[in-house]
Structure formats: structure tokens, C-alpha cells
């Protein structure tokens, strides 16, 4: 940490390896290149939006939001950071790494089970031998899951969490374990359960648990494409991006 030159060297190497370098290859056309680091749960929606964003060629890099935030802290500079919560972009904004974030979508935590499962509610999770998979505490989905379950009261939350058999590094890992039948249930966003198609059934959580969460997006400070990045962010709130998000099952941001 204390050896600044080496830190930036490591960051430069990470940059080269991950390929978030920005800056188009020669001969790639006149369009600027926009690098967007986005939460894994945005994979489908932002993939659609990328094809409907004429001002730039959009390069998407998906991972757990915490992973992406850690990359930005290490000097990797995408143009836009879209997270599965508002805490991470707000933290980065306080650290002077990104512009003030805005909420662009909401998502709902659901209980995902394999299509043929006999699980119908949270109560069914307490049976012995249940294999439950959740997100790691560092990723937004894992944090939401713990927060929402905590509203059940400590005793019930503890009994449900006792069935946790794996803490996945991003939400897609949770979906994969449920869709593949390795796990009996997992807590994921509604959009991820939808994207998994027939293999996964989503069970809504009681409204009193307030399972809704907000997604925050910010332009990264020092972006060479700041204007286009701002356009991209606006399109997420209203425009092609917003349409793609609604199609994928995301809720509209509060006005």
C-alpha cells in the first residue's frame, strides 16, 4: 500500500490484463469506445442496451459489484460503473473516484428454487438437509440477502442461514447452483431468476421484509469519454437502456 509507484505499476498491469484500458484499437471506426463495468445481474439488460447505443461502441465488463469497485480503487478506469446497490458507488464518490451516482433501477430479492422443487416459502427452508446458496457478504446480493433475512428476527434468520452451503462471489454463481440442481434454493434478484428461464422458479418474499433494492450508476472520474458516458447514464434512466432494463424485469427508479 505504501509503495505508490509499485501500486500504480500493479494497477497498470491489471489494466492490461483485464483489458479495461479504454482507447479504441486503430481502425475500429470513428466511434469512441465506452467501457462499462457492471454488476453481474445486469448482464442481459446492458447487453441489449449496448446494441442500441449509437454514440459509442460499448465494452461491458461484468463481475460482482464489490469486485468491480475494488478494481476501480486499484486504478482500473472504466468510463461507467453500474452497481447492484447504491452503497458502493456512493463510497467511491466519497473517495473521489466517481461522480455522484444516480439510482437507475430497482430489483427485488426472491427465493429461487429448481423448477420441480417442493419448496414454496421461507418456512420450507428450515427443514434439515436443505442446501441453500447465497451471495458472499461482500457482494450486494449477499448483503441484501442478510439484511432482508434479518427482518425475520435473529432466531429465524439464524435457522435459515444454517442451511447455507456456499457463498458465491456473484449472483450468477447462485443462479447456476440452483439451475443445475446442486442447491435446493438460493436468494437472487428477480431478474436473474427470470433470465434463468424454465429451470428456475422464483418465489416472492413477504412484502414486510422489504426485499426491494436500488441500483446506482456513476461516471468514473477522469473518463476520457465523460460526455458519452453521461449520455449512456441518461439512457439508463429514460430511453433505450431503461426499456431494456424494464424488459429484463427491473423496476423503474424513483422519480
Amino acid at each position: 500500500m505504501r509503495f505508490a509507484p509499485c501500486s500504480s505499476l500493479a494497477a497498470a498491469l491489471a489494466l492490461a490484463l483485464i483489458g479495461c484500458g479504454g482507447g479504441g484499437e486503430p481502425g475500429a471506426g470513428q466511434k469512441p469506445e465506452l467501457t462499462v463495468s457492471a454488476a453481474a445481474s445486469l448482464t442481459e439488460a446492458l447487453g441489449t442496451y449496448a446494441e442500441q447505443f449509437p454514440p459509442a461502441r460499448v465494452r461491458l465488463s461484468f463481475a460482482g459489484s464489490d469486485e468491480l469497485a475494488a478494481q476501480i480503487r486499484r486504478g482500473v478506469k472504466p468510463d461507467v460503473f453500474a452497481a447492484a446497490n447504491t452503497d458502493l458507488p456512493q463510497e467511491l464518490a466519497r473517495e473521489g473516484l466517481v461522480e455522484p451516482p444516480v439510482v437507475f433501477a430497482t430489483n427485488t430479492l426472491v427465493l429461487a428454487v429448481p423448477a420441480g422443487s417442493d419448496i414454496d416459502s421461507l418456512d420450507d427452508l428450515v427443514a434439515p438437509g436443505r442446501r441453500l446458496v447465497i451471495g458472499a457478504p461482500s457482494v450486494p446480493v449477499g448483503k441484501y440477502t442478510r439484511k432482508v433475512l434479518a427482518r425475520l428476527g435473529p432466531e429465524r434468520a439464524r435457522r435459515i442461514l444454517a442451511g447455507v452451503r456456499s457463498e458465491e462471489p456473484d449472483v450468477k454463481g447462485v443462479v447456476a447452483k440452483v439451475a443445475g440442481g446442486a442447491a435446493d434454493a438460493g436468494f437472487v434478484y428477480r431478474t436473474d431468476a427470470l433470465a434463468a428461464g424454465d429451470r428456475v422458479r422464483a418465489i416472492a418474499l413477504p412484502a414486510r421484509l422489504k426485499p426491494d433494492g436500488s441500483y446506482g450508476v456513476a461516471v468514473v472520474k477522469g473518463s476520457s469519454q465523460a460526455r458519452v458516458a453521461q449520455q449512456y447514464v441518461s439512457g439508463l434512466r429514460s430511453g433505450a437502456g431503461a426499456r431494456a432494463l424494464r424488459e429484463a424485469g427491473f423496476g423503474a427508479p424513483p422519480p
Partner: protein, 267 residues
């Protein structure tokens, strides 16, 4: 004359560039973390737990690989039969598979809904989300490294030694234990070291097949990934240990092989 100098200079530049590119990131980890922070981070329970789990699972996997792999490699090295090269190719295939593919393949075969899932369950064994599942993933990805080395080592054993042993009345099994294994030991040892190195670094197959839970399935590479976002110092410390151990393993391979001529090539 000057052309020769230029060529030699070009070689030197190429080697320097290669060396820098391959070593700077590794050195950066040690510089970035600093010895004091390294020691502190290694004291954290999550880090120690992961290292111990890595030790336990890789050693178990190695035991399985050697006990079953050595005789299998001996058969492949000493007998010719129809379809032998096909068998060798199949056995080496996991070498070139991306780890994620290995994980999905294991899930498709041994997972609860896999083709052999019923068999596994019927035997009362739990693999997915269990330490045993980590061992299975490690054996799958690391065994080919040992098998190809062991095969080459067995093939290089002088036939006249075997004949002498047999003339002296030793059975084939006794010859294998008393003559073949000791003669092939350097090659077998480097196979063990390579397989161990591969197993220590295993990430994708473990995550997909066995999951990631502290103390149960979260081996060192998975812990590094989990720590990157929350405790970078701990991630760096674990990475440094992994580099040091892997480096020591590689060095031991070179030393063992150096005693007996060049390392037998593994394709």
C-alpha cells in the same frame, strides 16, 4: 559480423522483456503487501483456514492421484494394446480444458442431477458443497500432470533392468515395487510436484463443482478471490504464500530433474 551482434542483442531484448513481463507482477505482490502486513494478514482466521484447507485437500488429492495413477501410468507405458493412444489422449484431455468446463463436467457427471448423481447419493457420499468435492475437482484437473510425467518416467526405465530382476526370480509386482519405482523416482517426483502446483492453484472447477464456504470448500485461491474486494491485504498475503509455495515446488522439480538429465517433456 554486425548482423550477428544485432541478432544476439535481439535475443537478449526478447529474454529481458519476457522476464520482466512474467516476474514484475509476482514481485509487485510482495512489494505491495510489505512483510509486516503479510504476517499480520496471515494471522487472520480466514487466511489460515484457507491455507490449511488447501494443504489438506491437495495432499489428499495427491495421495489418490499417486496410488491409482502410478499403476495406471505403468500399464500405459509398458503395454501396447489397441486404442492405447486414444486412452492416453482421453487421460490427458483435462490438461487443456478450461477449469470452468471441468467444473461443469463434474457437476453433469457427479452432481445431484448428474448422470452418476444417483450412484453417488446411493453410496451415501456428498460431494457438492463438501470438502470431498474439492478433492474430486483437484484430482480431475491435476491427475493428468502426474500421469503424463509418470508414463514418461516408466517408459524410460531400462528394459534390461527388468529382465535382470525377472531372471533373479522376482515377480512382476516385486520388480515394479523394488526396481521400477525407485528407478523412475525422479520423474515420478516431478510429476507429483507439477500436479501439486496445479492443485494448489485450482479455482474454477472447485468454485463451480464444490462451491465456496469458509473452512469447508474455500481453498486459498477462492479465499484470495473472496478477499480481493473486502480485505486486499489478506488477499495479497495469501497470494504471496501461494507464489512462494508454487515457486518452491517448481524449483524442486528442476533440482530433481537436473540430477537425471533434462526433464522428460510433457506434451
Amino acid at each position: 559480423m554486425s548482423g550477428g551482434v544485432a541478432f544476439r542483442a535481439a535475443l537478449l531484448v526478447a529474454l529481458t522483456a519476457t522476464l520482466l513481463f512474467l516476474t514484475v507482477p509476482l514481485v509487485a505482490i510482495f512489494v505491495d503487501a510489505g512483510p509486516a502486513e503479510l504476517m499480520r494478514s496471515l494471522g487472520e482466521p480466514g487466511a489460515r483456514e484457507a491455507l490449511l484447507l488447501s494443504l489438506e485437500t491437495t495432499l489428499t488429492a495427491l495421495l489418490v492421484i499417486v496410488v491409482i495413477g502410478a499403476p495406471a501410468a505403468y500399464l500405459l507405458a509398458t503395454r501396447s494394446f489397441r486404442g492405447r493412444s486414444m486412452v492416453i489422449t482421453l487421460v490427458e484431455l483435462p490438461l487443456v480444458l478450461p477449469p470452468a468446463v471441468a467444473g461443469i463436467a463434474l457437476l453433469a457427471a457427479l452432481g445431484p442431477q448428474g448422470v452418476l448423481g444417483g450412484l453417488v447419493e446411493g453410496a451415501g457420499v456428498d460431494l457438492v458443497f463438501e470438502t470431498a468435492g474439492v478433492v474430486v475437482a483437484l484430482v480431475f484437473v491435476a491427475a493428468p500432470f502426474f500421469l503424463s510425467q509418470a508414463q514418461a518416467a516408466f517408459a524410460a526405465v531400462d528394459r534390461s533392468l527388468l529382465e535382470a530382476s525377472r531372471t533373479l526370480g522376482a515377480s512382476e509386482a516385486v520388480t515394479f515395487v523394488r526396481v521400477v519405482v525407485p528407478t523412475a523416482l525422479p520423474g515420478l517426483a516431478s510429476g507429483v510436484a507439477l500436479a501439486w502446483g496445479r492443485a494448489l492453484g485450482e479455482f474454477g472447477a472447485t468454485l463451480i463443482f464444490a462451491g465456496s464456504l469458509a473452512g469447508v470448500t474455500r481453498t486459498t485461491p477462492l479465499a484470495i478471490y473472496a478477499f480481493v474486494a473486502t480485505d486486499l491485504d489478506a488477499a495479497l498475503a495469501l497470494a504471496a504464500v501461494l507464489i512462494a509455495v508454487s515457486g518452491a515446488l517448481l524449483l524442486s522439480v528442476k533440482l530433481v530433474a537436473g540430477r537425471r538429465g533434462p526433464l522428460v517433456a510433457w506434451r
